[in-house]
């Protein structure tokens, strides 16, 4: 039997029960749509993480308070913390231990305001101006922070491009002033856009942040350590470990109450997050497509019963078993393919909308779409097989008599 005429028959039957067909497809639409959306979100996140890694620079190690063992919850009031003395101890190791410099960082939550426009900076960094020389930042306008700003405790700030654009407008901000958590700061410079999270930063001198934003007794949120060269990260990690275990007075065998991340460590974390994400995605996809497929099978069984008489007629005028099977199989495949297409449109559209509002660069890519369509077709084949065989197995004489 010709494929085209079978396809036409399938389409006609789907179109005849439009509401029911749409409801049946919904399971597949939601399954495919959510997978497309989540894959796009996962991609956007991982490219944002990559952007962030680039922003962090490749010869910077970061020390955070707290060990690697997330499950060993510290006693309340006794949470591990870092101190400025820790930073000094690390810096004291010197180039022999692979260390070039160590900068304590204060990262309070800060909301910037200019008149009615305000934004919460996702990455506010209070740090010694010297650090900015090592970080990969480029000025678009104004100047970077200076050593004088630090020693004079000046309330000055350098804004990331997106932050500046958000509260001042495109290309503006340098030379103006901004209110940070109620304290007025001068904006001395705006950074050039680099893409990703690195554009949502703001930098201020460590001293000014301590005076005005974090409070005088706040411990450093992290310590950024500049290493002598990229290859020295292993040596530098060991040096940091030794130095901090000494200042924290840890006994041999006691677990460290700090952790050191290099760029490769962050890459590893990002990779493990994305692999967990893809396992979860796979589960979501498999579950929803299975449920959607059951819906399709259910409706196909109903369709077969409803069209018993038609099947009888077809058999009487000479339809062979395989011809009946392929008619109903194609119908369920078309149903699933339409659902898959709908899912691609809805999921892709949703991803673009989310991307538009969050500012993440969203790309969907041909591969997930092709896979989604292919999987829909397979679901149609798999779940259409049983109903189609039921149709083909009917005795023509009984089917003809069916009312």
């Amino acid at each position: 039997m010709s494929f085209l005429s079978t396809l036409r028959m399938a389409w006609r039957s789907i179109a005849a029960n439009r509401m029911r067909s749409v409801l049946t497809m919904l399971g597949i639409v939601i399954g495919v749509g959510s997978v497309i959306l989540l894959v796009a979100a996962g991609k956007a996140t991982s490219s944002a993480v990559e952007g962030k890694l680039e922003g962090l620079g490749t010869n910077i190690l970061t020390v955070y308070p707290g060990g690697f063992n997330f499950f060993a919850a510290p006693a309340p009031g006794n949470e591990p913390h870092l101190s400025e003395a820790d930073a000094e101890a690390i810096a004291a190791v010197g180039p022999a231990g692979g260390i070039a410099a160590a900068y304590p960082v204060l990262a309070p939550s800060v909301t910037l305001q200019n008149g009615t426009r305000s934004t919460t900076v996702s990455e506010f960094t209070g740090v010694d101006p010297a650090y900015l020389r090592t970080a990969p930042v480029t000025l678009a306008a104004g100047r970077l922070l200076s050593q004088a700003d630090e020693s004079n405790r000046e309330r000055v700030m350098v804004l990331g491009s997106r932050v500046a654009e958000h509260i001042f407008g495109k290309g503006q901000g340098a030379g103006q002033s901004v209110v940070a958590n109620g304290v007025r700061f001068s904006v001395v410079g705006v950074l050039a856009p680099v893409g990703g999270e690195a554009d949502s930063t703001a930098y201020a001198p460590f001293s000014a942040v301590r005076d005005n934003l974090s409070g005088p007794w706040a411990p450093p949120t992290q310590i950024n350590v500049e290493i002598t060269e990229r290859n020295a990260s292993g040596l530098a990690k060991a040096s940091i470990d030794t130095a901090l275990r000494r200042t924290h007075e840890l006994r041999p065998g006691q677990e460290s109450d700090f952790s050191v991340y290099g760029p490769e460590g962050l890459v590893g974390t990002a990779n493990s997050i994305s692999s967990i994400l893809s396992i979860v995605l796979g589960g979501v996809a498999a579950t929803s497509l299975f449920v959607g497929g059951m819906g399709v099978m259910n409706i196909m069984l109903v369709t077969v019963i409803e069209r018993t008489r038609e099947i009888g007629i077809r058999k009487a005028i000479g339809a062979r078993r395989g011809q009946i099977v392929s008619q109903f199989l194609i119908e369920s495949v078309v149903l699933c393919l339409l659902g898959g297409l709908g899912g691609v449109v809805i999921g892709g559209g949703g991803a673009l909308v989310v991307g538009h509002f969050t500012g993440y660069a969203v790309s969907i890519g041909a591969a997930p779409i092709a896979i989604a369509i292919g999987v829909s077709a397979v679901v149609g084949l798999f779940f259409g097989f049983y109903p189609a065989n039921r149709a083909a197995a009917m005795a023509p004489i009984d089917a003809l008599r069916y009312e």
Partner: protein, 240 residues
């Protein structure tokens, strides 16, 4: 000339056919012992009250059902113990069905309905179209090829069904109460159409309980209690 010496096989040769099936605890003998021979080119009416076994006989003749015992040759082919697909192919090639309820496929144009047997016979698209149009012209519906069954009157639907039955040029036209769902006037046109097809040399077997319909046939076979009650030639045929 040697061919004339050999016996030409009859179109339908049923010998001592029995058909019984169980209905719960009861065994129903629908056909007890039926022998029937129908030659090519005949116009035969099979009559009988309901429950007489005439429907079972029609199903057997139409290869929709199989006899439990006996023999059935259709156009020289022994149809006993054939698989479902083989029977489908035999029905497709040898038999054109005309049903009481027309049994057209809904939401499908007259032309496509008529094409359907050719679709299953895997005839090419262009050839299919040509033959379906020809068949529709034969039944006088050349102008209605694009109409769907719901847009046609009962008589027109039955004519589409007749076109579908003749489109494969089958050896046998098998009509099951073809006018049962039609009013008197349309009954007459449909019966005239069948008579016309018979005049063109087609073999027609009509199952009916209406005497007026049987009157059109040249031979009437009456069935009662699973047996053939009478078999009489009612009109002398002019040999084709």
């Amino acid at each position: 000339m040697t061919a004339a010496l050999e016996p030409v096989p009859a179109l339908i040769e049923i010998e001592h056919a029995r058909r019984s099936y169980s209905l719960g605890d009861e065994v129903v003998h629908a056909l007890r012992d039926v022998s029937l021979t129908i030659e090519s080119g005949e116009h035969v009416a099979i009559m009988g009250p309901s429950g007489s076994g005439k429907s079972t006989l029609m199903n057997v003749i139409g290869c929709l059902d199989q006899v439990s015992e006996g023999r059935y040759l259709l156009d020289g082919i022994d149809v006993l113990d054939r698989g479902a697909d083989e029977l489908a192919e035999i029905r497709n090639r040898k038999i054109g069905f005309i049903f009481q309820q027309f049994n057209l496929i809904a939401r499908t144009s007259a032309l496509e309905n008529v094409e359907l047997p050719l679709v299953y016979a895997e005839v090419g698209r262009r050839e299919r179209r040509r033959r379906a149009k020809e068949a529709l012209a034969t039944v006088g519906l050349a102008e209605r090829t694009g109409h769907q069954p719901s847009e046609l009157s009962g008589g027109q639907q039955q004519r589409v069904a007749i076109a579908r039955a003749i489109v494969t040029d089958p050896a046998l036209l098998l009509a099951d109460e073809p006018t049962g769902a039609l009013d008197l006037a349309t009954t007459e046109t449909v019966m005239e159409l069948l008579a016309e097809l018979h005049a063109q040399g087609r073999t027609i077997v009509v199952i009916t309980h209406e005497e007026e319909v049987a009157d059109h046939a040249a031979r009437v076979v009456r069935v009662r209690d699973g047996l053939i009650d009478s078999d009489e030639v009612t009109a002398v045929e002019v040999a084709a």
